[in-house]
């Protein structure tokens, strides 16, 4: 059709004025693929097709976000390059994935080391509450090893057509125009040149920054900073008889001794447990908090040997700018970790996929150049789908992690079956499920009661201090 030959003429920058003049001569029997308003210029719809090539997108970072993004891009027909600095990276992580991730990302069941179906919440005064009675047979929280999961997602991306490069992203040169490429500077490690690697550059049309909490892509586009928590974890191999207790059970310890604004945890891994804690406001005392966590779990991990100590920053909220022109941030780089539970793997993978889908759609499967409005669609979709979840968890953290009485009330409330059901439903399926209004009312009354009692006991404690 005549309109297409004009579109493939890449010399034209401002394609719309010419095309509108052409349109006026076209007989009405010719159906136009798209409507174009005469004066609009910058929308990607009116950009010309890329001549003789597909859209080139680089994904920096090969974790869950990068792997999912690269796979979706490659499947959408886009030339994808995934740059990961350490192929066998064992990211320090809780390693918990919700049930919906297994289905949505078609994860094979052998990736999951353990299925956690019971949780224990332990209050500052060691009141322990068992959670998980309401779980159905097929429901569980999957515990994975990050190195296994990340490698699997990267391999899948490669099978779909992405090129995986072992390299360290250094910086990128921002383009001046809407269609000039980004120039990425990176160091490629290919085994032959030894540990130092070889400096290389690459030109790409768009970049997805999936390089984690200390994202260099974010720095390159001036995305701004965020508050972050330090998560500190020790992997401990405990005797087999003690390990059977943690067979399918994870523990959460709350208390001022364990963390002033987060929780301490004991998560079972493949053949050992991970004992850790985190904090935002008192990062300097993290070792003290870790000792306190170990102390609280002492009886259950006695005789264990610490095989690894690791720490990592966890973002607390998104960066001020999550995208800029044709660069978008996903996963930890964007700051998509929930409060209260500190969950990040699922949201990283989902955001990578969503961003990639937006690019695929905006470029019409790699045929056209994209621009910022296409990436904004990803942000809109993300905020619309998940902002309620983030908000609810933020409120929970603000209310229940404030102080020891609040934590006591929190643990007390978790013994309620309705609370457990709602919590697990929203965690496993990532939907803020609307509950039964009557039960909600009862829950509200019980919450107020628990908080009141805990605060009353705190006042009693203060009286004793006098």
């Amino acid at each position: 059709m005549a309109t297409f030959t004009l579109k493939s003429f890449t010399g034209l920058r401002q394609s719309s004025p010419d095309q509108t003049s052409f349109i006026s001569h076209v007989p009405s029997s010719l159906s136009l693929p798209q409507r174009r308003t005469p004066l609009r210029v910058s929308a990607a719809r009116s950009s010309p097709n890329l001549a003789n090539r597909k859209l080139r997108v680089a994904v920096i970072g090969g974790g869950p976000a990068g792997g999912a993004a690269a796979e979706t891009l490659a499947q959408g027909g886009i030339e994808t390059i995934l740059i990961e600095r350490k192929m066998d990276n064992c990211k320090p992580c809780g390693g918990a994935i919700p049930l919906c991730m297994v289905g949505e990302f078609n994860l094979p069941l052998d990736i999951i080391d353990r299925r956690v179906t019971k949780m224990k919440m332990i209050s500052p005064s060691n009141i322990a509450v068992d959670i998980g009675r309401t779980l159905k047979e097929h429901e569980y929280i999957g515990m994975v090893r990050r190195e296994v999961l990340d490698q699997y997602l990267r391999e899948r991306a490669e099978k779909s057509g992405a090129t995986v490069i072992n390299g360290l992203f250094l910086k990128m040169d921002l383009p001046e125009n809407w269609d000039t490429p980004y120039v990425l500077h990176y160091t490629e490690y290919d085994g032959k040149t030894g540990a130092t690697g070889q400096k290389k550059t690459m030109e790409v049309d768009a970049v997805i920054g999936a390089d984690g909490a200390n994202s260099r892509v974010a720095k390159s586009i001036g995305a701004g900073d965020y508050d972050y928590a330090i998560a500190f974890q020790e992997r401990i191999r405990i005797p087999d008889d003690k390990m059977t207790y943690y067979e399918d059970l994870a523990e959460m310890y709350v208390g001022d001794d364990v963390s002033p604004d987060f929780y301490g945890w004991v998560f079972p891994k493949c053949d050992h447990v991970a004992v850790g804690t985190g904090t935002v406001t008192h990062k300097g005392d993290i070792k003290k908090f870790q000792l306190a966590t170990r102390n609280r779990a002492k009886d259950k991990i006695l005789g264990g040997k610490i095989i690894r100590v690791e720490a990592h920053p966890i973002p607390e909220h998104p960066r001020p700018r999550r995208l800029s022109k044709r660069v978008a941030l996903v996963g930890d780089a964007a700051g998509y970790v929930t409060k209260c539970s500190g969950e990040g793997i699922y949201f990283a993978a989902k955001s990578g996929r969503m961003c990639a889908e937006a690019i695929v759609e905006g470029s019409q499967n790699g045929k056209k150049m994209i621009d910022e409005s296409d990436l904004r669609k990803y942000l809109e979709k993300w905020d619309k789908t998940y902002l309620p979840t983030y908000r609810v968890l933020d409120v929970l953290q603000k209310v229940f992690y404030r102080s020891n009485p609040a934590r006591e009330a929190f643990v007390e409330m978790c013994s309620d079956e309705y609370v457990q059901k709602m919590t697990f439903d929203s965690y496993l399926y990532k939907k803020v499920a609307p509950g039964n209004p009557l039960e909600d009312l009862k829950l509200a009354v019980n919450t107020i009661g628990s908080v009141f009692r805990a605060n009353a006991l705190r006042r009693e404690i203060e009286k004793l201090n006098v």
Binding site: I122, P124, S125, N126, I127, A128, I221, G222, A223, G224, D225, Y226, D227, Y245, G255, D256, D257, A292, R294, N295, R296, K298, D299, K300, L302, G303, G304, K305, I306, I307, H317, P318, R319, P320, R321, R322, L323, L379, D383, Y390, R391, D394, K398, N404, E408, E412, S415, G449, S450, F452, R453, A454, A456, L457, R459, E460, I461, K463, L464, N465
Partner: protein, 260 residues
């Protein structure tokens, strides 16, 4: 005060294996002038717990209270071979004191021991739980599967909580509101000549009344003013951090002010 301190310090510094310092305390009871106060506390606590007395007299809160002076060695003699690069977690020979109380049975409070005149004395249950929590805050303990803590504060009936905490505070706040109300009404009447009934019909006066009630309710201590301001900012902060992506900075400079 000093007499009681001097008399109380011997029990503390004596060897930890003294399980029953009651005789010493009863001696000191007789010699201090604080007979009435101490005897009250003695009546409410049982034989096994001697610390309630000491803590209320405020003589010896420095030392960790030792209800029953039993020392439990926390680590069984686990002497696994420590690998070269691995760190062993066994603690050796650190003596720690767990929370022990005669009324704390099987991880919960034995309500039968709190009975007074045939009915459970909920006030003492509340105080006992507060003491347990205070102890644990100062000396965090490990949780064990052998002795899980099962106590749930909701077994204490709601009216016990009301009587102990809500009613005194309600009385205080109502008193404040009444005083403020009376003097404001008098003041306005003396200035404007508008009587109480007519004041209630006036919109401005009704607003003032609302402000006074809200003030009495929310600002109970001086620190509450700052706390309230911080609270309002805190509730909106997270939303602002999320919406930041939608606000385009005026200049396209690369360093954007971070929203902390």
């Amino acid at each position: 005060m000093s007499i009681s301190m001097a008399l109380f310090s011997p029990p503390i510094s004596s060897p930890l294996l003294n399980p029953n310092p009651i005789p010493k305390i009863s001696l000191s009871l007789l010699s201090t002038k604080r007979l009435s106060l101490v005897s009250l506390t003695r009546a409410s606590s049982d034989n096994g717990t001697s610390t309630p007395a000491s803590s209320t007299v405020s003589a010896t809160t420095v030392e960790a209270p030792k209800p029953v002076e039993e020392v439990s060695v926390k680590s069984p003699s686990e002497n696994g071979a420590v690998g070269g690069e691995e760190t062993d977690l066994t603690t050796t020979t650190t003596t720690e004191i767990k929370f022990q109380d005669a009324k704390w049975v099987n991880g919960t409070w034995d309500l039968k021991q709190f009975e007074k005149e045939g009915k459970t004395d909920w006030d003492s249950v509340i105080v006992a739980e507060a003491k347990r929590r205070k102890w644990l805050e100062d000396n965090p303990e490990t949780t064990t599967n052998d002795e899980p803590v099962l106590f749930d504060t909701s077994i204490i009936p709601w009216w016990a909580w009301m009587k102990r905490y809500h009613l005194p505070e309600a009385e205080l706040l109502n008193g404040r509101a009444a005083m403020v109300g009376f003097f404001m009404a008098y003041f306005v009447d003396s200035l404007t000549g508008v009587g109480l009934v007519d004041q209630m019909g006036n919109f401005f006066c009704k607003t003032l009344l609302f402000v006074a009630v809200a003030g009495v309710l929310f600002i109970r201590k001086n620190e509450d003013l700052d706390k309230l301001k911080g609270l309002i900012e805190e509730t909106t902060l997270y939303d602002k951090q999320w919406q930041a992506a939608w606000k385009e900075p005026e200049s396209s400079s690369s360093t954007v002010s971070s929203k902390k």
